[in-house]
């Protein structure tokens, strides 16, 4: 990159009086005064959330309504601030998702500890925990700020993917593998 010598001109008389500068400044601020406002009025107007946003972590169900979490506890172990606590449980015999064998009995995320890093989502082999679009959580007590399993599923909803990994596994076990 070549060096461009700049000539520093002495200020002209008009510039030294500072008046033209003030006038052009007034013109600029006037332009800002009349143009539309740039802020959102928050509680009524919400910002558009970009894809890939990491908001409040939630648990999701698959389109059949089966809870995807199998309580492997990887997220609990990876969580840097130790915000997640899982009580593993078994799926009782005779239930529709019996073949999955395990599901969390209780799943708690302490939102006072959570740092929204998204490592739980990254580590989850079942794609069961997702950081979604909600960005503001409030509560009056510490207990209110701990999301339990029911609340996590309520926040998470259903993930519309069509993997049905466990159903395919079950059909492969019973009918043999038709592909390979």
């Amino acid at each position: 990159m070549a060096i461009v010598p700049l000539e520093r001109k002495p200020l002209t008389f008009a510039e030294r009086t500072y008046v033209p500068q003030i006038l052009s400044g007034l013109k600029t601020t006037w332009r800002h005064l009349v143009k539309p406002k740039e802020t959102l009025e928050y509680p009524e107007q919400r910002p558009a959330i970009p894809p890939g946003y990491r908001g409040v972590p939630t648990l999701v169900k698959d389109p059949n309504g089966r809870e995807k979490c199998v309580s492997c506890q990887l997220c609990e172990f990876v969580c840097p601030p130790k915000a997640i606590r899982i009580t593993p449980g078994e799926i009782p015999a005779g239930a529709p998702a019996e073949h999955v064998e395990k599901a969390p009995k209780e799943f708690e995320i302490d939102m006072l500890r959570c740092i929204y890093c998204g490592m739980c989502q990254e580590v989850c082999p079942e794609e069961a925990i997702w950081l979604q679009n909600q960005f503001s959580m409030t509560g009056y007590t510490r207990e209110e700020m701990v999301n339990n399993k029911a609340r996590l599923y309520e926040l998470g909803g259903t993930l519309p993917d069509e993997h049905f990994k466990w159903d395919k596994k079950k059909s492969a076990e019973t009918h043999g593998n038709d592909r390979h």
């Binding site: 003030i22 400044g25 007034l26 601020t29 006037w30 800002h32 005064l33 406002k37 740039e38 009025e41």
Partner: protein, 386 residues
């Protein structure tokens, strides 16, 4: 009703008139603080305060939400907050002067109104009579004398706070006042030289200046801002400095002096300083309007008497002295508020000068300029009026 008023003792009449004017100036001071927040917000691309609303106002369909958006009720919310906050009195201050300072700030700010005419009406003979608490001959001198007392409050506050930043703020306030008072006074002398033509009784009255700007003819109806632009410029600049407005915000100067003279103040005492500052600004704007912007004349070359004549042709009701008085006060207030808006507009445009720059502008630029301006107009007026 009018007879009852006129039969009252003159002192009672005076007190009533004074209270009426204070009842207008004080809320304008409060409203200006709101306007400042709104103007700053708009210039920064924000909507500004627009939440507070009184329930029974929000029930009015269109006007209610409009007033809410305008932030009218934040004035009350702000004032109420100031009033009910704990008024802490720091242990290290000189209590007597500390409490005295905000009171001293309010008194000159509200006293200057007495000598300022703010409207006019036509009597039965068609003569324009200014409306003022006291349309005295020393008009402008009284305004200058009393309004400069306002700086004592800053010095008192700075000194009584017994803390270094307020003290520096107070010192700056006094130095700044001395520097700019000089050029301010010098800038209006040519104007009064021109107004006090030979063969007339000499006066410094502000009513007379407006009367002079409402004569017939091209030069007669010209506002002083066109005849003496340099004077107007110097006066306006000094007015910014006198009222401690940005860019001459030295005594407060929150970037280098924490809060300047009011660092140790809080709650209602702090609020009083600000109402005083805004009242000062309003009075300064009225004086500028009277001197340079033709007072209550609606437009250059269109005097109030002309307007009243035209309105009289439309309907005799509009030519009634009361109607003309209200119209003149309205015209005057519009000009004053536009000027107050200009103050705010400049505040959010120009960054604060450094202290040495303020002194340099005052002593090395404005003072020589105002002296040169005075000499030029003195010679010119001597030649014209010979």
């Amino acid at each position: 009703m009018i007879d009852f008023y006129l039969n009252l003792h003159p002192v009672v009449q005076g007190v009533l008139k004074g209270l009426a004017v204070i009842m207008v100036i004080f809320p304008i001071g409060g409203a200006c603080s709101m306007a400042e927040r709104k103007v700053s917000a708009w210039i920064q691309g924000r909507p500004g305060p627009n939440r507070a609303v009184v329930p029974w106002v929000s029930w009015i369909p269109v006007i209610g939400p409009f007033l809410q958006r305008l932030g009218i009720f934040h004035v009350m919310a702000d004032g109420g907050k100031m009033l009910f906050k704990e008024d802490a009195l720091p242990g290290h201050v000189n209590k007597f002067y500390f409490i005295l300072a905000p009171i001293v700030a309010m008194i000159p700010a509200l006293t200057t109104v007495t000598a300022v005419p703010f409207g006019a009406y036509l009597d039965t003979a068609g003569k324009v009579i200014p409306i003022a608490l006291a349309n005295v001959d020393i008009g402008l001198l009284a305004v200058f004398a009393v309004s400069s007392l306002g700086v004592y409050s800053l010095i008192l506050a700075g000194w009584a706070s017994n803390s270094k930043y307020p003290f520096l703020g107070g010192v700056r306030a006094s130095a700044q006042l001395i520097s700019y008072e000089l050029s301010m006074t010098l800038s209006v002398i040519p104007l009064f030289l021109w107004v006090n033509e030979p063969g007339r009784e000499a006066t410094l009255g502000l009513g007379r200046v407006v009367e002079f700007q409402s004569q017939p003819g091209f030069l007669g109806g010209m506002w002083f801002v066109f005849i003496m632009p340099v004077s107007a410029f110097i006066f306006l600049t000094s007015l910014f400095a006198e009222t401690n407005r940005q860019p001459f915000d030295m005594p407060e100067s929150e970037a280098d002096l924490v809060g300047g003279f009011h660092t140790e103040y809080g709650a209602f005492k702090w609020g009083l300083f600000f109402v005083a500052e805004y009242a000062h600004m309003v009075i300064g704007s009225t004086v500028f309007t009277l001197l340079f912007l033709g007072g209550w004349n609606p437009l250059p070359w269109v005097s109030l008497a002309d307007l009243a004549g035209w309105l009289g042709q439309l309907s005799p009701l509009l030519a009634h002295p009361l109607a003309v008085g209200v119209i003149s006060i309205g015209v005057f207030l519009v000009k004053v508020l536009a000027l107050v808006f200009f103050f705010m507009w400049v505040r959010w445009t120009v960054p604060r000068f450094r202290y040495d720059q303020v002194m340099e502008i005052g002593w090395k630029k404005l003072l020589p300029l105002s002296i040169a301006n005075l000499i030029f107009y003195a010679i010119a007026i001597a030649i014209i009026q010979k």
